[in-house]
Symmetry: C2
Subunit: 255 residues, 2 copies
């Protein structure tokens, strides 16, 4: 869903309180209205907006009472830095996502390894295999013919996932700091306001090759200024032309 | 900074446009007003709110013109799921953060290894050492007596950090899905509405030991109901009393 629409929705304290309430249990309008101390009419208005956005859904129970609940998982990330105001929102990723294909992050959520630290890990000892490969059998589909996991195992999964979530969040904050630091250093190679412009230009190329026109549009800058800057970076050996598209020389080395 | 205050600020489209503009370059009021097509008075009001919150700062240049810019790095995360409405905001983490101490996440941002995939990694081949240990010399403090990194190396750092950021974001979304799945499964062990309550109870204990009273307060539930539920979970072997505080049995096994 659109990040701007999501921020508009979440910018209202009463809508946040409704979401918090519904994350505890499904509720009907009168219940929400009494809990928040807000008129049923206002609650209905908030619920309609949340429903339109797909954040909330409703069902009618046997007593013909309409219950509202949170419709699905959604995640929003906002980065604010001297170089970026970035928002990203997305539904949660599939359990079948191949988390072993990531190049820069490995997750260690192996149940057996943790509960028995002396167990010998399988595999050939290749460092790149560390902690990988077991996740999908643990948190993915149920194994056919096996018993569903018992409560103790589920509680252990829960605890591990919560810790993993905290570490990932800390990792994101660490990366944000390193990104700003790197952009500062790139800027220091150039003079004055230009530093930020060159940083933006390089950052624009981290997504892949682009023509000068595409970069000019993305950076909202005059095409001839962008062209000149790219020629300058090219003289430094940082970028090069591949046909009519510019690429990072550093980036082209890693497949 | 407070997540609710941050969401209130970001819930306004014009304030988001101001932040986006300032992340490109420092601006003065007339510039912002013309760019947004909003009166200077309204711009000043938005800037004051952003400044009060510490998101934006100003300085006066030689020509005595007042420029506004983004004050510092900040990150906001919002999780919406049938079990959670969670918001978290924080400043970026220190470069000296010990990212090797994490138990569940490893980051691979090793410059040498990537640019020369055939190089033999140092270390004793212990899988737990994979990809660790080099990060702080790469993105941490400058090495004394060494040349500052050149533009090509900085551009490569930039590209790796952007990819790392994307992978971490995907990892967070994957974890969000697994958390919901695990809470669903825990709920399935119990009947009806109670399932969610037991899930919340277990989740409340993932942060560490707690008394029944503390849990009752955190879950906004009657203490005797919480007490009964904990006794029930105790009979399943999932939780146990340690003095007057309840602990996860699964959790107590991993130090």
């Amino acid at each position: 869903m659109d990040s701007a629409a999501l921020l508009d929705l979440l910018g209202n304290e009463n809508r946040r309180r409704i979401l918090r309430l519904l994350s505890r249990k499904p509720c009907y309008v009168t219940e929400i209205s009494e809990y928040l101390g807000v008129s049923p009419k206002a609650v209905i208005d908030h619920l309609r907006k949340l429903e339109d956005a797909g954040l909330v859904e409703s069902h009618v129970d046997d007593g013909r009472r309409k219950y509202f609940s949170i419709a699905r998982n959604l995640r929003l990330e906002v980065n604010v830095s001297p170089y970026e105001f970035g928002t990203k929102s997305a539904y949660s990723a599939s359990p079948n996502l191949d988390i072993t294909s990531w190049r820069h992050v490995s997750l260690h959520v192996d149940r057996d390894r943790e509960s028995d630290p002396d167990s010998i890990p399988e595999g050939n000892g290749d460092p790149d295999d560390a902690g990988r490969g077991d996740e999908e059998t643990l948190f993915g589909e149920d194994q056919e013919g096996e018993e569903p996991p018992d409560l103790t195992a589920l509680a252990a999964d829960l605890e591990r996932l919560e810790r993993l979530e905290n570490e990932l969040s800390m990792a994101q904050r660490w990366v944000q700091g390193r990104l700003t630091e790197t952009l500062d250093r790139i800027g220091a190679h150039f003079e004055g306001v230009d530093g930020r412009f060159y940083s933006d230009l390089l950052r624009g190329l981290t997504d892949g090759p682009a023509t000068a026109e595409e970069l000019a549009r993305r950076l909202d800058a005059p095409p001839d200024v962008v062209e000149d800057a790219l020629e300058g970076l090219s003289a430094h050996g940082v970028v090069e032309l591949d046909g009519d598209r510019w690429v990072l020389v550093a980036g082209s080395a890693s497949p």
